[in-house]
């Protein structure tokens, strides 16, 4: 229960972050959506045993977090919540893949462990970049970018409605759950028998609300078409941002920066 409320607080917090006033926030959402998409594809395009070549990619989220003035600690904490499923599947890699893949002095590390670390890195990078995207762009921004990029309008409108009413309906759900909590002793009262009318009632209220919203739309001349006024501009800053980062990603994909750096260091030490 308490956990649910914190999850939701995180949600509203992320939404608040998107109202920041930094240069990154001001960029046209399309630039950020495109750069993030390329980032994710490049990151997952590495082979299963890639660990070191993935590391330079932290530059992108790190820079955006910094320029966007985002709270790194909060984002890191959010990332921790995501790892379980990936770990669950990834942790089996060491069991199935025992072939030694590299030796660190006396230590032999199996391919399974290497690929496991690779999976962890990938998920931190991909999920992290998605969080950074939402925290600098906001859901509405992303939706409008999607529409500009060709996503059908009914779907986009639907996303916007969903987002608008998440705040209203989850509050209703939290109230309902609280009321049930206060009148149920331990696990009693939380069975399916009570759950169905509870959720059913919420559903009926939602349905009525949808009808009232529809009425409100009709009252203001809605005839099936949606018009959203947004003056977005894909200017020099956006072009630079998108092309610049895409260039960096491709460079990191082709050149193993970690290895080069490591080579220099070990050379110097010897």
């Amino acid at each position: 229960m308490a956990k649910i409320e914190t999850t939701f607080l995180d949600f509203t917090y992320l939404d608040l972050l998107a109202e920041g006033e930094t240069a990154v926030h001001r960029l046209d959402p399309r630039a950020k959506v495109l750069a993030t998409a390329v980032f994710i594809v490049v990151v997952v395009s590495f082979g299963r045993y890639a660990v070191a070549p993935l590391v330079p990619f932290f530059l992108f989220p790190a820079v955006v977090v910094a320029r966007g003035n985002l709270p790194a600690g909060f984002l890191a904490r959010k990332l921790l919540f995501v790892l379980p499923f990936v770990l669950l599947v990834g942790i089996l890699n060491p069991l199935f893949d025992r072939e030694t893949a590299l030796t660190l002095g006396p230590l032999a590390i199996s391919g399974g462990w290497v690929s496991f670390f690779s999976i962890v890195l990938r998920s931190i990078l991909t999920v992290g970049s998605a969080l950074v995207l939402i925290a600098t762009t906001g859901f509405t921004g992303i939706c409008l970018a999607l529409e500009r990029l060709g996503v059908p309008q009914p779907f986009v409108v639907q996303l916007l409605f969903l987002y608008r009413y998440i705040f209203v309906l989850t509050e209703e759900a939290v109230r309902t759950v609280r009321a049930r909590e206060l009148r149920s002793c331990g696990r009693r009262g939380k069975g399916v028998g009570a759950f169905a009318p509870l959720v059913g009632t919420l559903l009926l209220r939602t349905w009525d609300r949808a009808e009232r919203i529809h009425l409100a739309m009709l009252c203001r001349g809605f005839r099936g078409e949606f018009h959203v006024r947004r003056a977005y501009r894909f200017g020099t800053a956006e072009t630079l941002f998108t092309l610049g980062w895409v260039g960096v990603f491709i460079l990191f994909r082709l050149v193993n920066v970690s290895a080069i750096l490591g080579g220099w260091i070990t050379e110097m030490l010897q």
Partner: protein, 344 residues
């Protein structure tokens, strides 16, 4: 269960994105041509409802654990397959962005696994065929459970195939299937029971809600074929295109680029999609281009290391050091930028 970016190869992820995008486009057109614009707010608000409903959990008798509603089948029963598919997809978009469930690349997979199967397979083939006109009672409950189970099992199978097809996880297909199916069988039964209970509650209170969908349903045989065809064409196209550039073979992109630039590697990997163990030695180690592959003469990106370092453990230590250092540099750059940001 959500598919995750980290377990996906771009080819599989991209193919599923193509499939999901095709289905969204198709369903959007369908919904738009449906003249009833009352549904515009209804769909979005029901999407929000799914989130709200998922915050309410219930205890599962005899297990000591608790569950919550998934909602895919319920949405389909209330809205019909096309609208429901769009709603499920949008719920997944929000989950991917805010709750980091899965990730953006895996979104296509998740939309397919959790949206397509309940809306376009379980609902028309099981629920609608067996329940319509004979609603109420034990039969409806049984059919709802069957539909929910079918939807979830197919979805789980989707996760398995996508993971194995991507070849990032080393899990063998059979083990993974054995791991996933029983869990999803159980989840499906619970989902079915709960869905049936909610539907019957709604029907008692406001019969017109459940009936209205039935009336608006197309009378013609269900248009499975266009949807399926669209899915496959889109998947093939995108998958095919992507695998040209980044074949499922993990090293594909590097390899093809090397070929283009004329700097082929001695052991150009040609192994199968996930012939993990056998080709392991020939493929990438922790640090590709680093230990096993002898670079051809001439400068190559990975060439900066010294001769000594090439022998023994030097290389991997170098890689390790380099990795840590790069990470630190990346974070440091971020930190410095941040300081400048806040001070300036």
């Amino acid at each position: 269960m959500h598919m995750a970016d980290a377990l996906l190869s771009p080819a599989v992820g991209g193919a599923m994105w193509g499939a999901a995008a095709g289905a969204i486009a198709y369903c959007s057109r369908k919904v738009r041509s449906d003249l009833d614009n009352r549904r515009v707010p209804l769909m979005g608000v029901l999407g929000a409802f799914v989130f709200a409903a998922q915050m309410i959990n219930f205890s599962i008798p005899g297990t000591g654990s608790s569950g919550h509603l998934g909602g895919g089948l319920l949405l389909t029963i209330l809205l019909g397959p096309h609208a429901a598919f769009l709603v499920i997809a949008s719920v997944l978009v929000v989950q991917a962005l805010f709750f980091a469930d899965g990730g953006l690349l895996a979104l296509g997979c998740n939309i397919f696994n959790l949206g397509f199967f309940p809306a376009f397979v379980a609902y028309p083939l099981i629920y609608r065929r067996l329940v319509v006109g004979r609603s109420g009672g034990g039969r409806e409950v049984a059919v709802t459970i069957a539909a929910a189970v079918a939807g979830l099992l197919l979805g789980a199978l989707g996760v398995v195939l996508e993971t194995v097809g991507s070849g990032v996880s080393a899990l063998p297909l059979s083990t993974f299937v054995l791991m996933m199916l029983p869990i999803h069988l159980a989840i499906g039964v619970v989902e079915g029971v709960v869905t049936a209970a909610v539907v019957s509650f709604v029907r008692k209170a406001r019969p017109e809600i459940v009936e209205s969908v039935r009336e608006t349903r197309p009378l013609a045989p269900f248009p499975m074929r266009p949807v399926l065809a669209l899915f496959f064409v889109a998947a093939l196209l995108v998958g095919g295109l992507l695998s040209r550039f980044a074949s499922g073979n993990p090293d594909g992109l590097e390899w093809s680029i090397a070929r283009v630039t004329g700097k082929g590697e001695l052991t150009a990997p040609t192994g199968g999609l996930h012939g993990a163990v056998s080709s392991l030695q020939g493929k990438l180690a922790l640090f590709p281009d680093y230990r096993f592959k002898q670079p051809p003469a001439g400068p190559k990106p990975g060439d900066a290391r010294s001769g000594e370092a090439e022998r023994g453990s030097g290389t991997s230590v170098a890689g390790m050091v380099g990795g840590v250092l790069t990470l630190l540099t990346a974070l440091l750059i971020g930190f410095v930028l941040k300081r400048r940001n806040t001070s300036g």
